[in-house]
Point group: C2
Chain length 438, copies 2
Amino acid sequence: MNANWKLLKNGLIVTINDSADVDTGDILIEGKYIRGIGSNLKHSDAQYFDASEYVIIPGLIQTHVHLCQTLFRNLADDLTLLNWLNKKIYPWEALHTPESLAISTKLGIAELLLGGTSTILDMGTVNHMDVVFEELARSGMRAFCGKTMMDKGEMPIALQENTSKAIDSSLTLLERWHNTGSERVKYAFAPRFILSCSKELLTETVKLSREYNVPLHTHAAENMTEVDIVKTMYNKDTISFFEEIGAAGPNLCLAHCVWLNDREKDILRDTKIKVLHCPSSNLKLGSGIAPIPEYLDHGITVSIGADGAPCNNNLDAFTEMRLAALIQKPKYGAHVMDSESVLRMATIEGAKTLGLENEIGSIEVGKKADLALIKLNQVHTIPYKSIYSKLVYSTPSSAVEHLIIDGEWVVKNRSLFNYDINDIMKQANYIANKLFIN
Amino acid sequence: MNANWKLLKNGLIVTINDSADVDTGDILIEGKYIRGIGSNLKHSDAQYFDASEYVIIPGLIQTHVHLCQTLFRNLADDLTLLNWLNKKIYPWEALHTPESLAISTKLGIAELLLGGTSTILDMGTVNHMDVVFEELARSGMRAFCGKTMMDKGEMPIALQENTSKAIDSSLTLLERWHNTGSERVKYAFAPRFILSCSKELLTETVKLSREYNVPLHTHAAENMTEVDIVKTMYNKDTISFFEEIGAAGPNLCLAHCVWLNDREKDILRDTKIKVLHCPSSNLKLGSGIAPIPEYLDHGITVSIGADGAPCNNNLDAFTEMRLAALIQKPKYGAHVMDSESVLRMATIEGAKTLGLENEIGSIEVGKKADLALIKLNQVHTIPYKSIYSKLVYSTPSSAVEHLIIDGEWVVKNRSLFNYDINDIMKQANYIANKLFIN
């Protein structure tokens, strides 16, 4: 038996391949890669694993997360976006120490991994970002992450930076962490949003993200007031502004896109901008409901994310999938957002968003083995049919029993391989009480 | 030690009393009743239970459920109300045998109890309803239930009844089960909705529900097409029609109320009609979003329910609470539906809906001991503050560890006292495959 080979036997495999194959069978893994999928596979060197009680899906991908905010969970309800940022989130991000940021990151990663999320696109905070990258590298998670850039607007002193500081510190982090700390951890530039970034900062970031071929991750058109301010500032709609500064292109990843007009939707389609949909967050901050069925009709790539703990208040891909399906139906009709399409948004469409569609997002020979094993023989998933419906509407994240990333067990029997969860919870409570709860 | 006395020590008690007290303390129970709440309680005859790891809330109350539909879970997605009823639900209810109805009921009850729901208002099906009452009485759950009455519209033959048959069979069930099989099980008349009931049937049911002083449980203004048909049939809005036939009053429990005009809202307020809010179901069937903040501003009693498994696809009070909070914020503002108000909807407002506000719905001396014990030291509920926010936004039903009804353990350590859950799941799968899955 060689640890380099694994053979998962008799799982119900939801492949998310182009033919949408769903079949009971085996998955043979060598190192990081899937080498075989089929019936009665055998391999003399492999560690066998009985997967007959499990549904196996691609590891879930969340393309908009703020790990730095996990310690603010349940502490900032009932506020709209700009109040929420100015009264709660900015002051708290300003209070972060390396220690508090590390535990916030760990707590967020723990919740994500235990809930079957194997890959994230994370937006960080201004300071101490090395600790976020350190934790990501240690965790085994696949992640794009970037320091949030802000050179404009009223901010707590600790978050104030000028344009060159925001850019220089981003480049330092990129050089230190992009593909180096862990092959699974990559950099993404993260100017926060138009209101907190100068045109100069945004324009420079566009160039850098092209130069390094990494995602440009930002928020856009989340809230009507924000959209109005952008229009007043630049006499342009949000997406037209991005077009003007040369940002419109396949590596532009825009969280939210709740308030876009028809012309802006066409620009998304024509320039292959990616939409990162965060249904819980959009509801909770009273932002609105993003017109996702229209984006899908346009052929725009839409993926999902939980956003941060204080606007959700979870980091749960299953919750986001269920909500992504439900919230569109009153407006567009009960037939929209079928469960298979929604599961694709949380897997292969997330992979496309990150430019990783040839590596992850589906279970196929030659792809990396990022796999979530879900126990569905539970009271809320009986009867046991209609697998997509079950995964999207009836499966709680607690049904994820195991998670494999790059062929390695990261969660087994609902326990994290690389973390002591009790220790994390204890530290998180202690530090949150010290810094953020009065 | 006397099994008649129980003493829960050192729980975090969320009382839902008029002062909204939340304190760490003890609860002393004698038989069915809460006899003491406070610090350092002692009782020489009591069975002690260490509740120091738990939040203790009143058992949750769901006021609109269809246990008969649990076996149809995940089998009827992406349809609007009337198609969903005509193409899926009616044909399947017509196929029910006593055996399939019993297992559907058991599976539903199991999910509800394991998720902390101690009391329901259930709408049954047309036939074999004795088995539903038998299972309710056996389960230990507190429930109002009634046979669905329909004497109009196109139906599968097995569901067709004339007016007198619908009434007579309801009365037979009432006499057999109301306060008799189990003191916890009571009858509620359940004409399905205006479209499937003659005016004569509804008028007669109004009289009977007054005579027996039991709830009149029906669906109203769920879907715009339904509302239009009612208007065409009777030249009246839905609530005006109920008023005309004498139904408007405190025992009228109306599921949904998505599409009411201002005059109808005033009638609800003036006549103390109860609204049963089902957020998942209203989204999933594309029905709309009920204007709950307006009802609350009117002082109308609003409680919540999961509706049936095929339009949700769960029976989970925590999911409904979270959604009840979130879906109103884009329209009415992020400040509406604070988490404390939402938890009250799932507890004391549910009790008021059923006329049980002096018996259940809050943790107070003299009330019945219906208590859910929830373990909150979990990764998705850290940091451990803001208890209402945590319960409404971040607590999965899997965090319910124990449930007490009438002072009796019904769930302990996530296991049902009165049922073998593996046996239920196995039977449910077998029968669903035989009858409802082709």
